[in-house]
Amino acid sequence: MTLLQICIFIIISLLTGAFIPKSIRGWFLIILNILAVFWLQPVSPIRHLDFWLPVVGIFLVVLAWFLSNQSCNHRQTWITIGIISGTIVAVSLLRYLDPICCITASRPPSIIQILIFAIPAILIICLINHQFPGNKRFTVIIFLVIVSIFIILKTDIFTYYSSKILRSLSGQDQSLASPLDLGWIGFSYLAFRLLHYLRDNQTGKIPANSLDEFFNYALFFPAYSAGPIERFPNFLKELRKPIENRCMRLWISPHDFYQGSIRIVNGVFKKFVLADTLAIIALNSQNAAQINSTFWAWVILYAYSFRIYFDFSGYTDIAIGLGRYMGVQLPENFASPYLKTNLAMFWNCWHITLAQWFRAYIFNPLTRFMRTAKFNFPAWLIILSAQFSTMILIGLWHGVTLNFAIWGLWHAAGLFFHNRWSDWRKSHHFYWENIQGVNKMLTFISWLITFNYTVLGWVWFALPNPQISGKILGILFGAK
């Protein structure tokens, strides 16, 4: 998000929070969310792709809801469908209004092209609604479709060939295809919200909900591009909670206004002052290729470590603040991770909602499966398997590259070592560790090791390939 986009979102969120009554806020939010999703999508060299990617995202959201809800022949559902369709059509019609064209990054396609997509899309939704609501097989198919799109978008070779196909469909030069053509903003977060909803709905853990509530959860614009990944039941509670302590007949409470403003100011400062300043000297593939001083290698690495923290947590602060303006409290995503004294605590405080997602759907089920299996797996093997599979997947969530996988491995190895160490320490106590000064010293050493282990891990994360990461690690430890 740019500073201009954030300023406009602040105004819109504040006006929505203050003047739009709860009774119609759901429908109003649908319009805002759709407009924001189109607006945030960056331009693509492939014709009209910056229009179609958000449309496909919206379609997947609606499809996921219809697949998961059996009693949806309500007037409210079809009003919601009408609002969604109407807003998409309105966005496309802006192509005819030159002075205000366009909310999308490039001119949207013609209404005929939209109808060619819309008619089969509506037919699919009607078919599912009438014939297969709650059908497990279709749910699995959509689940796999979302995972497949996710893998395609995160893997350069697949995005390259997808770009070629899309270019050929739009009559453009295929030789210019590039993996960068398919930049689908927010899809990583949208996909994980949809997967969570489809999975938990199958196990009966999702409370009854309407299409407008789910739509606003999946595409809630403050959290659309950079999270956090809220769980649907929690979001629903926030959406439905009554507004208390109204002031001057406005719908926003003074407390929400105050807390939201503090978070936004904090977030803007972190992102646009601290992170953007640090970005000037932070580690990247250009300065990594040129540097040969150990001292400066540490400086640019520390700069990167703080830049990525301030950047990401700044966006989260802004998202939480915008949500507060509209009466929705989003979950925290960071809780002073660099101050933690072990790696397990770091992962309880870094990108919290993503780590919780992976714990809920990968780590815990795998651990439970191995713990209750007929074969008696040793504890260390269960921990090793669960930590490594979870952390490698967290790494690959950022992109299917060798370096992201190694970053995941780096943290898995650290977590595994920490787990074994703390297990050993439970049964080994020394008299001197309870002496106050010694205790403080041990805590400091634990923090120092944890912080620097995390910092060194960024060498894999920030750079594009193992060769250059290996070179920087060598320089950091004195190699010439």
């Binding site: 938990d200 196990t203 853990k205 769980r231 929690n234 979950p331 072990n342 397990a344 605590m345 309880n348 919780q356 714990r359 809920a360 759907y361 780590f363 815990n364 089920p365 651990t367 439970r368 713990r371 209750t372 504890a379 269960i382 921990i383 669960a386 787990n419 703390s422 439970k426 049964s427």
Partner: protein
């Protein structure tokens, strides 16, 4: 009943997870947010609760948002046992 649940949980955590049978675990002591119980131990705790009290703690609930103290955990168990 609440005391029974808490003392059963406390004993399991002290003996099996912390491996310090004499260590008291206060009912309002943070377990997850303090790092006292890690992700692996949480699954063991859930399995113990399922075996002992016959209530299900889902994988998606093993986090600080669902419970963080013995008191919160015992309330969750009681609500599932319809006590």
């Amino acid at each position: 009943m609440n005391d029974d649940i808490i003392s059963t949980l406390e004993s399991f955590i002290a003996v099996k997870i912390l491996k310090q049978p004499n260590r008291p675990v206060k009912e309002d002591e943070p377990l997850i947010s303090s790092g006292l119980i890690d992700s692996f131990n949480l699954v063991d705790l859930a399995l113990f609760i399922e075996d002992t009290f016959g209530v299900q703690i889902e994988d998606t609930e093993l986090n600080v948002n669902t419970f963080d103290t013995l008191l919160q955990l015992s309330e969750l168990i009681k609500s599932r046992m319809n006590i």
